[in-house]
Amino acid sequence: MTGRDLFVISTGNLLRMKLRTFLTTSGVLIAIAAFVAMLSFAAGNQKYVEEEYLRFGLFTTIQVSPRGGSEGADSSRGPRLDRAALDRLAAIPGVNLVYPYEAFTVRVKLGDTVLASKAQALPATALRTRFFATLTSGRPFGSDSSRQILVSDELMKKAGRPDSVLGLRAVVSVRVSTPDSGLAHVLMNRGESIIDRLRRIRTDSLGNRGYRSRTIRSEIHAAMQRFMEGFLQAQETLTDTLTVCGVYHVNRSGRLRTEEMVIPLVTAARFNNAGMSGSPSEMMASLSSGSPFGESRDASGKTFSLVTISFDPGVLSTTIRDSVEALGFRAFSFAAQFEQIQRFFLAFDMAIGVIGLIALVTASLGIVNTMVMSITERRKEIGVLRALGANDLDIRALFIVESGAIGLLGTSLGIFCGWALTRIVSMVARGYMKGQGLPEIELFALPVWLILIALGIGIGVSVLAGIYPAGRAARVDPVEALRNE
């Protein structure tokens, strides 16, 4: 019996028993549709994550932080993450770019609008990495000392200028606290100078030990209070006028982040190294670094909480990570993070696969039932085929092909229905995302491997379901089957 004969006979029988075939196939269809839809969701998310990692070049990015803590450096627990450390990191073979995360609070005037925002200092080379190479308009600044600025689309919206900001002048100002302002407050405060205060001291009583001691304590306390008042309140304002050269889309990709403005590294140094920021968090960072005043003015002594390393695609991220850790820093590898995500998706896929398989096994019981009923109804036909020369294998093949055909039909329709279901859900989800102002993400994907797995499992389970009925059919006694009623 040829394959064509088996196919013709099997499909003929299925078409003859339309309702039964429809019901049995529906079981397989529903199981496969659910299986495909669920795995499609996992595949869609996996694809999205992978695309994001590729888009932002995260596979070739490592973030470095001091071992002692997230802010500054703790010499007792690890080396300082300062300029010298950046040079050591840049010297690791395969590393092509090292830049720190330096952000500071600014006020910016765009047109007539003044906004409080946050700026980030970046070297021009960093803009060539994939993470920052997402300008929606304009072009990146040419050099680290360029007097240009990149602004985010979010900032433009806040400024009420969703478009046409290229070439616009942005007046950037930073309020910083310096020891100078504190000292000035000590010398002169609310119209009273230090001379006035000294005049109030009764010099003739200074010989009295108690008076002398109280006066010294009181004056030192007052001087410190004045210094802190001056340091914190009488902040110096630094202003610079820069030209908007490009607009970018803000990335919110986990640990890697961009602020609302990007200023060339050297141009930003004026703001960044001028003194202690008025921002409480930045102030705490400066204080915890152990060098709030002196070293902050000195770029070579500045420490960083976070440094980003970009390396060649041909170099293993583990090699770079090991080198960074050998220098005494903590390294965070996005490639390693992606592996963990992959493992999560694998476990997720397997869990979904098991659920789908359970549904499919349940549906396969329907196939077994249909086939067993078919044998009962077709005993005479089996007997005739036996008399005509069919062997055990022919009879088995007849029923296995029939159950396989149910599987093929159910699986094919199931894949289509599963796909259609994901399209509908995706359309609804996209509509919701759009309504919420969120970026539209494709939640589902139907890769070829998923179609092949669904086909393999659907047809495989159906064929397995046909083995028992086929064995029964092969054992039908032709003499009994052909006996006259």
């Binding site: 064509r4 005479k380 036996r386 008399a387 020369g389 069919a390």
Partner: protein
């Protein structure tokens, strides 16, 4: 086995167990059939005629004894070889036609080639030719339910002989037919025998057996009946022999 002997049974037994009772459907039957012979097997219901036919066709397995085909015992063949034997050498016609109800006449005849390795185009051509030869060309696309009893049996005969078997086993081929159709089928079998086909026909109809077959084998209670059958002999053709060949 004599040189002319083609199909032979030796002490063939087929017993069934029904609870604690053993039913001897066939008991020590020894017959011999020559190539090209037309043999009639007659006997009352339950005499073991059909059991003998099934054993000769390799559809059933004897409890003991041997069926030899051209010197080769069927018992030495595997199930697969027996199936190949039926596919290549055996044609079977049944009392109730046993056509596949959802196939057309042409498709029913074609089923004979399912297990012979004949190409689909060739087998369709041969099946159509056979139907035409048996006067059923205009019925080729009809399903069995649209055919008369005589036509259905002719389709069954066409299915049995289309692959040109060496042996034709006919089990009550006229049992469900009226006189006219029975006569047509009998004539058809005679014609096929004339073409050299070896035919073993089981029938109740002693007259038919006597007129059409060369030899009659009588059976009773699972054994060969060697009693006096003068009436039957009188009804039979002059060249018909009675009883089994030892």
């Amino acid at each position: 086995m004599t040189p002319a002997c083609y199909l032979q049974t030796t002490d063939l037994c087929r017993h069934y167990e029904r609870g604690h009772r053993v039913v001897k459907a066939l008991d020590n039957v020894t017959i011999s059939i020559a190539r090209g012979e037309f043999v009639g097997i007659v006997g009352s219901s339950g005499s073991g005629k059909t059991t003998l036919l099934n054993l000769l066709a390799g559809l059933d397995t004897p409890t003991s004894g041997v069926v030899d085909l051209d010197g080769v015992p069927l018992s030495s063949m595997s199930r697969r070889q027996l199936a190949a034997y039926r596919a290549a050498k055996v044609g079977m016609v049944f009392q109730s036609f046993n056509l596949i109800a959802h196939y057309t006449a042409l498709q029913n005849v074609e089923t004979a080639f399912y297990f012979t390795g004949t190409q689909p185009v060739e087998r369709r051509r041969l099946a159509a030719e056979m139907l035409e030869r048996l006067g059923l060309a205009d019925r080729a696309t009809h399903r069995p339910s649209d055919l008369s009893g005589g036509e259905q049996q002719r389709v069954a005969v066409a299915r049995a002989i289309v692959k040109k078997p060496e042996l034709l086993f006919a089990d009550e081929p006229t049992g469900n037919l009226d006189l006219e159709n029975a006569g047509q089928i009998a004539s058809l079998l005679t014609m096929l025998h004339g073409e050299g086909l070896t035919i073993i026909m089981v029938t109740h109809n002693l007259e038919l057996a006597g007129q059409r077959t060369q030899r009659i084998i009588r059976m009773q209670y699972g054994r060969l009946d060697r009693g006096d059958h003068s009436d039957a002999r009188a009804d039979a053709r002059p060249d018909a022999r009675e009883g089994a060949i030892p």
